[in-house]
Each structure stands twice: as C-alpha cells, then as structure tokens.
Symmetry: C2
Subunit: 440 residues, 2 copies
C-alpha cells in the first residue's frame, strides 16, 4: 500500500480506542505503542502500530516524519467554546481580583452583556479577524476540532452574523468547527423587564430560523461531514440570573422538536437547580460545567448516555479553587470530557493541554483519563466519536506530535506549548511549532 504520510519511530503512539465514549475505569485504558508509527492515506488513518509492523504493511510513503523522542496522540478536541466575540473583559478581570463576584457583575449588567454590546457593534471583518486569531492559537496547541457556540448576539441579526462567522471560518481554517446555537446564553438588556418575552422569541422565532438556515460546505477546509446545518446543537445556560429550570425545559423541548441535539450549561454556580437530571431525561448529548452538581445528580448522569463536560479553566480563571467533581463522575462509571470554555469573561485560554494540567491537579484525573477526556470523549460530546478522537484505521487523520517522550508530559508540564506538529485530515498545518496552513 502506498501512503501519503508516515509518522515513525515515535517514542510513544498513545490513543484511546473506540467510536463511543470511554466510561469509568475504561477512561484510563490507553493503547500505548513504543517505537510507534501511524500511516495516512487520503486524509484517513490506514495503519497504527509499531514502526516495524506499520512499515511492513506499506510500500511507499510520500512524506515521512521521524518522530524520535516525540509522542504521537490524536488531535485534541475542544467540545465547549464560546469562540466568537469582540473585545475583551480585562477591566472586569481586575475588578474581580479586587472582590467583585461573577454574579454581582452579571446582575449589574456587566459580564456577558458587556461582550454582547461589543459583539453587536463589531463588523464582520473584526469578528472574523479576532476569531481567526483564537483558532490559530487553538490549532498551535493541538486542537483540531472544536465546538463553537453563538450567544453574544442575543438578537437574530447578531446571532445570525455569529453563525456566518463560524461557517465562513469552518471553510477557511483547518480547525473543524461544530456549531451550537446558544441564544439562551443570557437575557438581553432590552428584555430585562420581561425575560419571558425573550424566551418566547427564542422558541417561536430564533430557533425555527436557525433550523431553517443552511450554509454552503464547499470551502477548502470544510470537513467531509459538514452538512450545512447552521447549528447541530442547542444549548441553554441554566443558572440564577440566566434561565431558570422551567424556561430551560421549554427551550430544550422546542429545540428537540426542531431536530437539534441538546446541551446544557448546568450547575456552574448555584447548586442543584435541577438542570443535570433535566438534561439527562431529555437525552442531551452533554451537560457542561457541573461544578456544584450534587452526588445524586452525578449518579443520574453517570448512569445515562449523556457525557459530562468539565471546564476546569473556569474555576481557574475565576480563581475560586472550587472544581467540578469529575473524579467522582468517573468513579461512578460516567463518561467525562474536558473543554476550555474559551470565553472573554471567565477563561480566556485556547489550550487543551492547559486543561489537562488543571484536570490532573485539581480534579485528580490521571494523565491517561485526561487524554481520553480531551480526545475520544470530547469527540463523542459533539457527536463525532465515529470520525475523530482516536488513532485507529478509518478515522480522520487528525494527529498531533508532542515534543516529549511520554504523553504524560502534556499534563505534568504546563503553561508552555509542547505541540510541535499538527496534522489535519492528513495535511501538515503546524510544523516546528509554527502555523503552515496550505491555502490559508
């Protein structure tokens, strides 16, 4: 067999296995191949194994990567980002250091709503430029696929512009995006006196408009599985000051009727509003945050098909020191994924390895569990476990070379970038730590 790309003599090739999420103890079981190799053809992985075995199975390789001293892992997947916004909230960061709480800032009309104002005022060009910078940083840190939410528009015109940005960049940038509609991110200022009217608008106008919207999928970097749907998922921020449980249920029910997959921001601050059991009962693909989820709700989640997505960057970014009970979710047999929560308020960090460094230290995941949570389980949390998230023949060739002889360095070391090479669908897009995007 002739192949396009052969990576060989890696210190380790390390990957979870499967098309569905790893649960409980299985999250810690990685395949680890010393002196490993991966072969790629037509954008797909065709062989994974020892260098000797893979070389025996192929006749010729158009490009060969000598990976001595490096570790080869699946492309990282970030299943929860608020990717598209304008501006920053650095002043709010400094206020918070001096004692203001997140909910105080939110209730004072700051927080999310200040980014909504900046985003509504931004041009398409500004939004694309700022978002592209974030995509570049994500790719440089090994993220090859990410979920991306709207939610800084909160009115049809701007939410639609955010979807435009996502779909345009999905075709132009190698990092694949899975779009989520998060019109229910906050109640916009103009509806403060009548939040129910905004919920009605979401259900009756915005969700149907998103469901009806289609985008072209013929850009140079659109993934083969892109189907033109404006959003695959509908997400709701269920929290005091955002949407209550009854509103969350109504929005999710409307979304389900329209064919959206469901996601919920659950238990980020207030304990036990009930969003986790609600999301599970409605068949959500993931519930995200889980910082204050009580044990009985964790147990419901662990016994379900829903994936728990924990976002350690948020407690870190806020400096609270109070992290999600992700260890407990795994110990109860659940499936856990990691994400950055990339956003300008609580956690502006594009790096999934940083999330692995946080999750090992503060949620007590093992490095193996953290890798599974950042690859296979993260892929499953956005409906792509059959395409990405592991190094196995047939899967999309999204591959990362790490400049360390052991995958655990990704969590052991922190605050720097060990990713040297990133391969997206068989094409090299980061080389020697620098972007090198064909046609980009």
């Amino acid at each position: 067999m002739q192949v396009d790309l052969l990576i060989r003599h890696a210190a380790q090739v390390v990957t979870p296995r499967g098309r569905g999420p790893a649960r409980g103890a299985a999250m810690g079981r990685l395949e680890l191949i010393p002196d490993g190799a991966v072969a790629v053809r037509d954008g797909r992985i065709v062989a994974v194994g020892s260098t000797a075995a893979v070389e025996a199975s192929i006749s010729e390789a158009a490009e060969v990567f000598e990976a001595r001293g490096q570790t080869v892992i699946p492309g990282l997947v970030d299943p929860h980002t608020h990717l598209v916004w304008a501006g920053d909230r650095v002043a709010e960061f400094e206020m918070r250091l001096k004692g203001a709480t997140y909910l105080e800032i939110l209730q004072a009309g700051g927080g999310i709503l200040s980014t909504v104002r900046a985003t509504r005022a931004a041009s398409m060009e500004q939004l694309i430029a700022e978002t592209r910078g974030r995509l570049d940083r994500m790719l440089l840190h090994g993220t090859t696929t990410a979920e991306a939410k709207t939610g800084y528009g909160l009115e049809w015109e701007t939410e639609r512009r955010l979807l435009d940005v996502l779909h345009q960049l999905n075709g132009l940038h190698p990092l694949d995006l899975v779009p989520t509609f998060l019109g229910a991110h906050a109640v916009p200022e103009e509806y403060r006196a009548d939040p129910e009217a905004y919920v009605g608008r979401l259900i009756e106008e915005m969700l149907p408009a998103v469901a009806a919207l289609r985008y072209p999928t013929d850009g140079p970097w659109h993934p083969p599985w892109a189907d033109g749907r404006a959003a695959w998922f509908c997400d709701v921020f269920c929290e005091r000051g955002a949407f209550d449980l009854a509103q969350t249920r109504r929005i999710l029910e409307a979304a389900r009727r329209l064919g959206f997959g469901l996601k919920v921001h659950a238990d980020e601050f207030e304990p036990a509003l009930g969003a986790t059991p609600l999301a599970v009962s409605m068949g959500a693909i993931s519930v995200d945050h889980l910082v204050s989820t009580p044990p009985e709700h964790l147990e419901i989640l662990a016994r379900s098909e829903t994936i728990g997505v924990v976002l350690p960057g948020t407690p870190f970014g806020l400096g609270t020191g109070h992290y999600a009970p992700g260890r407990e979710l795994i110990d109860r047999g659940g499936a856990l994924a990691l994400a950055t929560d990339l956003n300008p308020g609580t956690s502006w960090c594009e790096s999934m390895p940083m999330m692995m460094a946080l999750a090992t230290r503060y949620i007590k995941l093992t490095p193996a569990e953290a890798l599974t949570a950042a690859t296979l389980n993260a892929a499953c949390a956005i409906g792509l476990g059959h395409e990405i998230g592991s190094l196995e023949p047939g899967k999309q060739a999204d591959i990362v070379l790490v400049d360390a002889p052991d995958y655990r360095h990704l969590a052991y070391r922190y605050g720097i970038n060990l990713v040297r090479t990133v391969i997206k669908r068989g094409r090299v897009v980061v080389r020697d730590g620098a972007l090198q995007i064909p046609g980009g």
Copy 2:
C-alpha cells in the same frame, strides 16, 4: 540622534521605574504610555515616551517596529530557577496524583535525589541540549534574564559540570544567566548516615572551590556585566529533611565570608523553622518560597532590604492550593518578586506570564504588581536592578512586545503565549513568536 531600533505606535508602553525594588503600594504604580515608543542604540535604551516625543528626539532608525495593537514591556526576569538537570519526574507526578506520600515517592526512588542520579549520569552534551531547550522556551515566553542554580550534583565533579553548563550557555544563548551555587539543595545519598559530614564538605571544600573558580566571559552572548565568577550567590534549602536552621546558618556564614551573595529557600513546607529571620539578619538578597511564613516573620521581611521571592508554580504544580502570603507582604510594605522555580519535581514551567496568571488569581496581586514583581523587583532579587527590569534610558535594551492592547492580558489570559517579539540588548531574538538568534 541615530538609533539602531525604534519601536513605535505601541498601544501601550508599560514599565515600572527605578534601579531599586518597588515596595508596598509603589509596586502597583507603573508608567503607562499610550501610543508609546522606545528607541535603542548600542544595546541600551536611549528614549522612552510617546511616539511623537521619541520620534522628535531621533533623526533616523536602522530598524523600525510598528507595534500597533501591541504592548511593550521590559524583558521578564526569572529570579529563581533550577535550570540544569537531566531527565524528568513524570512517573512521580502520576504517583502524587494518585495520593502517594512524600515518603512513598522517596521509597520508589523519586524526589530530588532521583534527579541527582540522572544528572550525575548525564553527559555534558545531554545537559547542554536539555538545558538549551528550556532556555529557548523561556526566551519565547519573554524571559530575557534568569537566575540559575546548581544543586542536582551534590558532589564537586557534578556541581562543577553544572556550573560549566551554565557558563557555556551564558555565552552562547541570548538569555542572560546569573549563577547560584546550591550545593545545599539536599543531603546526597552517600551522606545519608552523616549529613554533618556533607555540610562540612560544603563549607570546607566546595564553597571555597566555587569561590576560586573563574570562567571566560568572551562568548558571543555573554552580558557586559558578566565578571567570570562561577556563582554570584549561595543558596540553601532550609527545610525538614534538607538542612536545618543551624546548618543553614553555618553554610551561609561560610558563603558570606567568601564573598557570595545569599539566598535561602525558606518556609516552603514546614512552618516557621526560622529561615526567614535568619536570612534577613544575614543580609540575604532574597528569601524564596514563603508558603508557610508566619505573620511575624513576614513583618521582619517587609521591614528589611531583603526581597521576598514567591513561586506560585510550586503550589500549582503540586496541586496543594496553598499559596504564599505575597499580598500580605506587599500590604506590609515589603518588596515582592515572582519566579518560576523551574524544576522537574514540583513545577516544570518556563513561562513567567503563567506565574503572573497564578499570582493575580491565587495571591491576589494586581496585574500591575505582578508585572513589577516579574521585572524590576525580579531584577533586584538577583542584583541587576541597575541594568535591567524597566524601560528607562541607560538600561540594557531587553524589551518584549506582547500581542495584546493592554499589559493586563498577560495575567488575564493564560496557558498560551502572547509574546511575539523579544529584543535582547538591542538585537531581535524572537520574531513573530519564533526564535531567531543571531549567531545562535
């Protein structure tokens, strides 16, 4: 005036000012120049101010950096690193996550002494290659000067080899190093039965040998202020299981007689062994760690000329969540500096911006205080406040351009690298985020 380099139209030029450390409330007072410029000639800063004012003072510039949208800060200074070692301790990291105690790690062959074994066994070539990789990552994250300790030899031959590595790299690499002798890092295995004999050896043989040793200073990157001394400082790890207070005093007294400046690892774990008041009374230039320093010792430190160096990477790396009372030291009027503690056991992180991100969130420094702690005060903690640490005419032209419109982004965002350009003594050594070392 003709200049070699002009940086202009920066969103902000931001710097502390002075040749001595900023203390107490003064740590938060930065000079902040919108639309700022810096001019460089013969490796020194010759003008800092608004672009209009700086341009009016010069006639021609050989190279011009347009810094629109970027922030210009002084080169970062890392005043506490264990830079030179071989190997890693990733297995120990995983054991600790699973709850292994210090003793269990020791019995499994872990801890400082495992790095001592690996370092003693390493060739000069291996040590230089591994150390150079760390220097490259530090430089890419904006560190232009660092202190570097020995301490993984614990016998003359290897300690001497570590000094050889430091001095060789100081001449070959743009990042300037200030060497510290830390023979008193741990009691080596061969002296376990008789630690006093090792202390005697340190005092009678090793310290005099270090004091007598001189290195050439004619490498292409040796700083003009390098004077060939093998080590400027002597440091002692005063801790239960390392060196007790009486031993620390004897080693420091011997070092002082030989002309070394003094540094102490104080109060990292055990509370109030008394290392902080001892170090202050002996005129140490810094006391480092301070995690468990009691208020009465903080007060002694705050009233002294000694700088408190806090190392938030260590509690972060260990996942303890218990940080040094640096806020309190500043509030008592003391001078605080930040450092990475770069080492393979507790904190393998080369990034000073990561330390600023930790110090703001967990020690409650303001971003302004964190910048002062990572520049001017860090320079003073290694005796170089007159040369580096601020952007002022006459100082060495060590300058960092940050890809953000406000210096606070260095702490607000985290886990990624915002440093785009690094200038060392007037020469560009990082351009567009990539190393570009003339003659390197």
